[in-house]
């Protein structure tokens, strides 16, 4: 199967594997869960099970608690990429897998992540201006004008369009139980992703044979 057709198939199936958000406070947790669940589909030896095949409530709870620990999640206060990266790598220490974070990478780099078989789908932060660009829900900023940073999973870049998953769009979608496929133009996505000076983070996993890829991307942490 060619890489392109693999990608297309992945796009179709990735959404079907994604779980919907139960609480608006859990965007990071669910994004990590879906990233890991998708990755395990193609890398069954990946050792962290986010609970996608949990049989009962106890297993689901245990998996959720592990995700909380990984992301340093606290109710309302939230989690962070620093602990997530460090704790993932702590768990992956004796394996061929590794977690990476980066700022200031470009769409070419993002395409490389999406097109690398050993890499996971990435978690991507955009500027909160993103909320003004979508119609699925209405975001009211707080008293200081601040918003939680949007977190998305881009799945495919094709014909100048970025196809991605937004946990909140899913949360607010009442029409279907399937995850909502969201799209932004490549230009808008890029502008919201890589504003000068402002650090927007991207996190992904990769297998050993591709570790070099992260090195040439000039990672800044």
């Amino acid at each position: 199967m060619s890489k392109d057709s693999q990608n297309q198939q992945h796009t179709q199936t990735a959404f079907s594997r994604f779980t919907g958000l139960e609480s608006e406070l859990d965007c990071l947790l669910l994004a990590v869960r879906n990233m890991l669940a998708d990755y395990r589909e193609f890398h069954p030896d990946f050792p962290i099970n986010p609970g996608e095949d949990a049989d009962d409530e106890e297993q689901r709870k245990a998996a959720r608690n592990e995700l909380k620990t990984l992301a340093g999640h606290r109710s309302r206060f939230g989690g962070n990429f620093s602990q997530l990266e460090a704790r993932l790598n702590g768990r992956l220490e004796d394996t061929s897998f590794e977690a990476y974070t980066a700022t200031q990478i470009d769409l070419g780099d993002l395409s490389k992540i999406l097109n690398t078989e050993t890499a996971s789908l990435p978690l991507v932060e955009l500027d909160p201006e993103y909320f003004d660009k979508i119609d699925e829900y209405d975001v009211q900023p707080g008293q200081f004008g601040a918003s939680e940073t949007p977190i998305l999973i881009p799945i495919q870049i094709e014909d100048d369009i970025v196809i991605y998953w937004d946990p909140l769009a899913d949360y607010y979608d009442n029409s279907t139980t399937n995850p909502v496929e969201m799209t932004l133009s490549e230009t808008t996505f890029l502008r919201l992703w890589s504003r000068a000076e402002r650090a927007r983070w991207t996190l992904w996993l990769d297998g050993q044979e591709q570790k070099k890829m992260a090195e040439f991307m000039d990672i800044d942490q």
Binding site: E24, N80, F81, T101, D138, G142, Q143, E197
Partner: protein
């Protein structure tokens, strides 16, 4: 200068000064967010002779959609003034900020959030006291307060010992400490006398209910913390599980489902009352005394309550 020059290492953030306060915010916010929480925001940057003072807060999302309209509204609650960080100048235009532990920032956030909720509960307690006063659990818990007010008005001057012997509660003295602190009594050599507040209440001809309302208004924290009168914030808390969302949306017409109320209790108060039957009974009580409207499993405002709380609320985000 590029962003690569902003770095975190050895529990400190190093960054170039750039071109002033806005530039500093842009340079460091993403790195602080990476280090502490994806919800952190830089609230304010102040440049002084000895460096930069950087105030940070936390922005977290709350679903404040109307359950009737299903209008998909997300409010980004901003909890400000969580902590002020300091960056001192180094060589060649760089600044260095020692980073406190994440757990310290989390504790500061929790305290700030708690302070805001406590002030909101107090505002609500003031607004609805005269309504919930007639609910049995509230009256039962305030029984000692009601007795002491009656004793001060009709029996003083008299000995503290007589009141202690007459009351069934074992902590009459703790109550009297609070009354004395608030200026409703004076105690001299074991004798209880009316304090200036009680004298003033008598001159104004205030009723028992009004006097107790004033005592709750002034002594809310003392009564709750020192005497453990949990009922004082019990009903305000359930009322606020609705009014929080209405006030955040500035919409007294907002309708919430019982499930929405349960989520607010859990997310904001860490109260696990999620059983809709039990919650429904609380909301029925609040409906009956006119604190909110609860019909067909939907909650909405009482205009008088919304209007009396709204101007007094602390910043809810």
């Amino acid at each position: 200068m590029s962003i690569q020059e902003t770095r975190i290492s050895d529990e400190a953030l190093t960054f170039p000064a750039g071109t002033g306060e806005a530039s500093v915010k842009n340079r460091i916010e993403g790195h602080l967010r990476y280090h502490y929480s994806r919800r952190l925001f830089v609230q304010d940057v102040e440049e002084s002779e000895d460096g930069y003072y950087i105030k940070v807060g936390i922005a977290y999302p709350r679903d404040v959609s109307d359950c009737r309209k299903q209008d998909n509204v997300l409010k980004m609650v901003n909890i400000g003034d969580v902590q002020t960080l300091y960056a001192s100048p180094m060589d060649e235009g760089y600044y260095r900020m020692k980073l406190p532990d994440r757990s310290d920032l989390y504790d500061a956030f929790k305290q700030r959030h708690q302070d805001i909720l406590t002030r909101l509960d107090w505002s609500m307690a003031r607004a609805i006291y005269s309504k919930v006063y007639k609910l049995t659990p509230v009256r039962n818990q305030l029984n000692s307060v009601i007795e002491i007010v009656d004793f001060i008005r009709h029996e003083t001057p008299d000995s503290v010992r007589r009141l202690e012997n007459a009351q069934t509660t074992s902590n009459t003295r703790d109550y009297l400490d609070v009354f004395e602190e608030l200026g409703y009594i004076r105690i001299e050599d074991g004798t209880m006398l009316q304090g200036p507040k009680m004298e003033s209440a008598d001159i104004q001809g205030l009723q028992e209910k009004d006097i107790i309302g004033d005592i709750i208004d002034e002594g809310y924290y003392l009564l709750r913390q020192k005497l453990g009168l949990a009922m004082l914030n019990h009903f305000p808390k359930f009322a606020n599980a609705y009014y929080l969302s209405a006030l955040r949306r500035s919409d007294p017409e907002l309708h919430l489902s019982v499930e929405d109320i349960a989520e607010n209790l859990q997310a904001e108060y860490q109260d696990g009352t999620t059983d809709t039957w039990k919650l429904g009974r609380k909301l029925d009580s609040l409906h009956d005394v006119g604190v909110l409207k609860f019909q067909d499993k939907e909650v909405t405002s009482r205009e008088d309550v919304y209007n009396s709380v709204e101007p007094n609320i602390p910043s809810l985000g």
